[in-house]
Structures are given as structure tokens and as C-alpha cells.
Amino acid sequence: MERPAHELPKNWSLENAGDGRLLLNMGPSHPAMHGIVRILLSVEGERIKDADVEIGYLHRGFEKTCENVTWNQVVPYTDRLNYVSPFINNVGYALAVEKLMGIETPERCKYARVIMSELSRLTDHLTCLGANAMELGAFTVYFYLINAREDLYRLTDAVAGGRITPAWSRVGGVTRDLPDTFTADTAAVFKKVRANIADADRLLTRNPIFNGRLRGTGRISKEDAVSLAFTGPALRASGVPYDVRKASPYLVYDRFSFDVPVGDAGDNYDRYLVRLEEMRQSMRIVEQALKQLPAGPVNHPDYGVTLPPKEEVYGNIEALMAHFKLTYEGVKPPAGEVYQAVEGGNGELGFYLVSDGTGRPWRMRVRPPCFTLTAGLGRLIKGGYIADIISTFGQINMIGGELER
């Protein structure tokens, strides 16, 4: 901006900047701004000369709140970071605390966490592509993809007891094991999801309108994408094959064969293609994981980490004490600090935790993947048309919950 943005008018009208440019407010209450982002545009005709992205409308003090609750009480808050892929957040947080404590969960737990994370990635990408298609006029596709998502939600609902706020993982384990019918249910749901994705693929990928809106818009070079710390589909669309699941495999991701799709143009169309392919790869991972899924417990055996079973609590003084201490004081990781990254729907989701040895986090920092993407939004839309903001904003898949915490 020529003038510092904080000096710019805050009203809702169109202002003439006096040199042929107009200052235009887009959002925060705009149907395509997904609720809560305001972009102050400086436009010349339909062309965007400059843009200032303003966020903070959904800030609710996640990090402050977490410093005042026990380690396990943080889990439900992590659901609300990215509410279209809550399991990845649950699992990433649990992994970070386990890393801090230096413990490992049983094998079955690791597989279950991989499976639920990949189902979450599917719901994330389905929502992103569906909403993007809808905003560009392809309403039918939205229903195909959201129907597929709904089936996946039913599947995850059966495991965790919640559609979008499952609060499923715990430090050292999970709340519930996968149900007995899970493998069969997944196969049935995947059949439908595959059919719906194929429909969307046929309707969109070679559609001239969709191509016209996505190809060449929101383009970013490889160098800029790296410098902006883009991760996930937006980075891979620019040609950098960085995926946390491959680069530093966590859980049991190194035991599955899957491909990481990479684009080259760095535009919205490549982001769309990368997401489309990632969904197919996620289903591949889930199917392999279900085949390899070992039997056994899902929770860490130490009662100082996970809650003892109820029959133990009522029949055995040690378990009763452990239950009491764990509920009131929480798990107590040793003093120290760790950073744990997982591959979220939008890219690297990092948790930086500092423990002072008590039952509560001293510092809890989330590195939200769409934070850097939204930081780069101004750069992505500059020079383009106002209408292209819709496709670009849809493809960076801004999620207010994790962006502003």
C-alpha cells in the first residue's frame, strides 16, 4: 500500500483514492470470504493493484486458554482449530505431547491414528474442492462432494462419537478403538466416495469455465512459495515435493506406499489437481492400513499416562489413585520443549510445546498451515481480477479456526 494500511478508511463504502484507484472493502461479511476475512483492495478498474488482508475476527485465545488447562483438556480445543479435519489436529497434538514425554503408543493405536487422519484429509479436500466449485458456479459438484463427505463423517462419527468435534485422541492413546464393522463400512463408503470424486472429476477437470477460472490465476513461483513457507497442496502445486508424511514420517506412514502428487504451474488449477489426487492416495493409505491393522490394545499401558479401565478403578486402589491424579493434576511431561509436525489438510501443522514439569502447558504454540497461505494471499491476488480472488481464496482453503486460534 502507498499509505500505511492502518490509516486507510475503515468504512464500507467505495472510496476514491484520487489517482484513478478505488479503495474497496471485500469482507469480512462476504459470502466468498468464508465468514471472517477482510481484504482491503486498491483497484484500478477490475485489476487489483494492492491488497491488505486483515484477519483476527475469529481469534479466541486458544493458546492462552491452553496454558490454563491440563494437557488432556487441550484435546477438545484442537478439534476447533481445523474443524473440517479435526482428527489430524487431535493426533498431531497427542503426538507432540507423547514426544515431549518420550513415550510411544501401541501399534494398533498408530494404525488407527493414521486411518482417522487420512479420513480427515479426505473430508478436508472434499470440502475445499466442493466449496470452491460452488463459488465458481458448479453447485452440482458441491452436492456430490459434500455427500461423499457426509458418508465419511458418518464413518468417523461411528468411531469417535462426533462429526466435526470428535476429541478422539488422548495423550498415550485414543478414547475409542475402531468398531468391529469398521473395515466393511469403510469399503462401502469408499466405493461411494470414489464414484462421487470420479463424477466431480468428469464435471470439472476438463470443464472450460472451471479451467478458465483456475488456470493461471493465483500463480506463485517456487521461490516465493518457499520463502512464504507455503506447505501442503499449495506448495506441491508449485513443484516442491515436500510432504511431512514422506520427509519425516511419523506414526507408521513409512510402511505404506503412496505417491505425493506435484504440480508445476503453481496456479489454482494445479492446486485443484493435487488435492484431487491426494484424495485417491489417502484412500490407498487407509486400505493398506486396514489390511495391516494389528490386534491389541490402543492405549499406553502405564496408568500414569492413560486412564485405567473403569473395572480397575473400582476394584484396585492403585488404579483408583492413578485415575484421581490423572483427572485432577493431569499427565506431567518432564520440563522441556518439542516441535512436532504432521501433514494437515493444508500443509504442515506444527505443535511447539513447552513444559515446566507441571500438569499444564507453559507455552502452547500451533503453527497453522493456512496462516502462511493467508499471509501470501495478497501476493497471490495482486495483478489479477477481482473475480479471481474467489478461486484463489477457495484454493488456499483458509480455515478461520486454525488461522486465528
Binding site: P4, A5, G56, G336, Y339, A341, R367, A375
Partner: protein, 158 residues
Amino acid sequence: MPAENILETLKAKLGGKVAETGSFRGDDTAVIAPEAWLEAASLLKKELGFDFLMDLCGADYLPREPRFEVVCHFYSSKTNARLRLKTRLAGEKPAVDSLTSLWLSADWFEREAWDMYGIDFKGHPDLRRLLMYDSFEGHPLRKDYPLKGRQPRIDHKD
């Protein structure tokens, strides 16, 4: 390059400006003197191949002095290495050099750290609040900011 070598290289190049190094649970950390912050970051980027500034945040260790920390997480897509770089800032007006000249991602990260902790990043082109509103009083993630702190009402702006 193995992780120990990165810490050793940093120590060799920066000498006494590296206050402390350590590893915990596989994470390598180097604590840098505030005056060498930009120099160390630049060394990481230009000579050691750390092309991603993955994260930058503040932290408050009240009542310890120096009270504040700025914590960076770097990643190298070339060597697949990760490194945490920290610096400790004292006093009522914590300030350190901005990394915006090296990474574009530092822009919003530093704005957030300023907003939440009141850490001044010298050389940042546009350091203003990111998540809170302009007339917000105080910095909410400081340990002496109350959990349920109230703010004065603000006037309606046209």
C-alpha cells in the same frame, strides 16, 4: 548434514554469540545472543541450506530475566534437517532484528509475536497488530495479562 554438525558449524562461525546449544527428544536448539540474531539466521539460510522459516513465535518466561524468547523453527528442503533457533530478550521493551529481509513468511509471524507479546522487530516494514484490534491495550499472551482480562469499550469508527 547431521544435526550435531549444524550446531557445531554455528558455534564455529559465530563463536561466543551462541549462548547455548542442546538436543532434547531429537530436536536441536541453539540459543543466540540477540545482537547476532539476523547474522545467525542469514547464515542458516545462505550457507546451511535452511530455506523454510516454518514458524516464528514469542514466549514469556516471567519471572525469569531475560523474560522473553523469540523461537524460530527452520526446515531445509535440501537436507531435510530441522533446527530451532532462539534468542532471549530482556526488559520492558524487548526488541530484536526482523527476519523479513530473508523470508517473506517472517512478516505475519513477527506481526503476531508483536501483537501477542509486544516484541519489537526492528526493520519490519509494517509492524502492526495482526489478530487483535488496533486499540487493544496490552499483549494478551504475556504471563501477566490476566486470563479473563477486560478491555475498555472502544468508540465506533466510521
